[in-house]
């Protein structure tokens, strides 16, 4: 259990050297990962995916299809892991749970008036309660970016703490929506607030706003997790989401996690990818690495 802090106990956030971050990130991207290491990385990436569908047009059929895919990534190739979780709207939690529960795949539900977060607290509470009661293992909440940008950081902190209380045994992921926070300094501040308010995971984006999970942003958030760990000895998870659609970028993210946080974070308990189209690209890379033949999307299931 995360220790409880009050807002005034959140330490001041360091300012971020944007140029320094960009240089550091560029170096992660120059890593070349081949053969067995690549294969291990690709399979690890698969097992860390939160397979996601968050659209107004989601139907039960769409969610069923995605849940099936979560458990059967590519039946033509035995020995592949299943994904970590499926991520859906609260109304689909019960359905998703009934399908993927038996495979050990978690069900994550977005909540708190996702994606805008523009609703009063009691609505957000009801939203979260509904998801938890329907069996969500994880809650992906959004912060109130409007309040954050207006400087009401205490409001944001209290809201996260309130939702955390409702979660019970469900793990709480806090979505910062970094594309709306505009600066890396804001991203760092929001990360610190979320972590001290009780987040089990911090997550970059809803996937609805561009830019989403850039390496710069993810690096800044990982650094916040690192500093918290150094301070308190407690681990917090990280979930970049949105815009990670190819295997190479996923591998670069894993490299970054290993080098900033260390190997303990390289499991799906502490690191996730929020993505819908990443799984197929990773699958294609796995088959390419084994056969030496470049693959075609024609031979993989639709996302």
């Amino acid at each position: 259990m995360t220790a409880k802090y009050r807002f005034n106990e959140v330490p001041p956030s360091p300012s971020i050297d944007k140029v320094g971050v960009e240089e550091r990130v560029a170096r992660f991207q120059s890593r070349s990962i081949k053969t067995t290491a690549k294969m291990q990385g690709l399979k690890m990436a698969l097992s860390m995916i939160d397979l996601t569908t968050l659209e107004g047009k989601d139907t039960e059929g769409k969610v069923k299809q995605m849940c099936f895919k979560a458990a059967h990534l590519h039946n033509g190739h035995p020995g592949l892991p299943v994904v970590a979780a499926v991520c859906v709207y609260p109304s689909m939690v019960g359905l998703a749970k009934s399908i993927v529960g038996k495979y050990g795949i978690k069900v994550a539900s977005v909540s708190t008036a996702f994606p805008s977060g523009q609703a009063p607290l009691d609505v957000k509470i009801a939203d979260t309660k509904y998801a938890v009661e329907n069996g969500a293992d994880e809650i992906d909440m959004v912060i109130s970016r409007g309040k954050f940008l207006a400087g009401e950081h205490a409001f944001v902190f209290d809201e996260i703490a309130a939702i955390k209380e409702l979660c019970g045994s469900a793990r709480l992921k806090v979505i910062l929506e970094t594309g709306e926070l505009t600066t890396l300094d804001n991203v760092r501040r929001a990360s610190d607030i979320a972590i001290y308010a009780g987040a089990d995971f911090i997550k970059t984006s809803t996937g609805k706003i561009q830019p989403a999970a850039t390496l710069q942003v993810t690096y800044t958030m990982l650094q916040a997790i690192r500093d918290y760990y150094d301070e308190t000895g407690k681990m917090v998870g990280m979930k970049p989401a949105g815009g990670i659609s190819n295997a190479k970028l996923a591998l670069h993210n894993l490299v970054m996690v290993k080098e900033v946080l260390g190997e303990e974070w390289l499991t799906n308990k502490w690191f996730r990818f929020g993505a819908s189209s990443l799984a197929n690209d990773v699958l294609m890379q796995i088959l390419k690495t084994e056969s030496g033949i470049y693959q075609s999307a024609d031979y993989f299931t639709l996302d």
Partner: protein, 292 residues
Amino acid sequence: MKRVEVLKTYKLYIDGKFPRTESGRFYKVLNKAKEPIANVCLSSRKDVRNAVQSARKAQGSWQERTAFNRGQVLYRIAEMLEGRRAQFVEELMLENSTKKEAQMEVDNSIDRIVYYAGWCDKFNQVASSVNPVSSSHFNFSSYEPMGVIGIMAVQSSGLLGLVSMLMPVIAGGNSCVIIASEDKPLCAVTLAEVLNSSDVPGGVVNILTGHIDELWSPLSSHMDVNGISLDVRNKYVTKVQLASVDNLKRVRAYSNDFSLMQEQGIQFITDFQELKTTWHPIEKIGGASNSY
């Protein structure tokens, strides 16, 4: 003092851009007197991958263009080539053609492009058919492009051979990845500049240069390539056919001498088309016992 000549570096053409090879390698093209005439990119399998990716991306919208519009675009290529005739003649002469041969090859290439431009909105009605069937159905077959086609250009002809293999493929709505002639790549790259300044959408034609020894394999085994067009004198024909089995690529190995004017025709277009047959229920019309 003798001036140091600046050799042009010929780059690749992928996704409507002119990148260098991701491998950073190049080779020197020599003329008959064994003097270097240009630096040319030595592509790697990753360039093949990138080119196929861009061809796939571009193919859908190229196919969806009206056939008439594709004809206009092809005609525009001929116009632009006409405007750069002198450069092509000069490059062919660098690659050991006489002036007369070079002029002839450029003329024939332009004519051939115009020829296929004309076919764009006509081949389907000429080659399609309405089929007699023994039930009350209107049954017809028409052509649709296969998708991404790999072209390993004729080695002996820098321009006309390339144009003869390329134009029917894109006239039919396919996109393509070309491996240019290894010894005579100059015109291929200059043709890319022509394509880029005419109205051909980026990615529909991608041109790579380099060793065929190294490039035939990733191209012909690639699961996202639907067909391969090559010259029967290519030493890898059998291997290409074998590598194409996995996703049932259609392989066409041409024995034609494309320098001859008669070596053009609708069959080169339908070679990379898929025939789609549709059954449509009909009522008897006008009391006739058999209609259509």
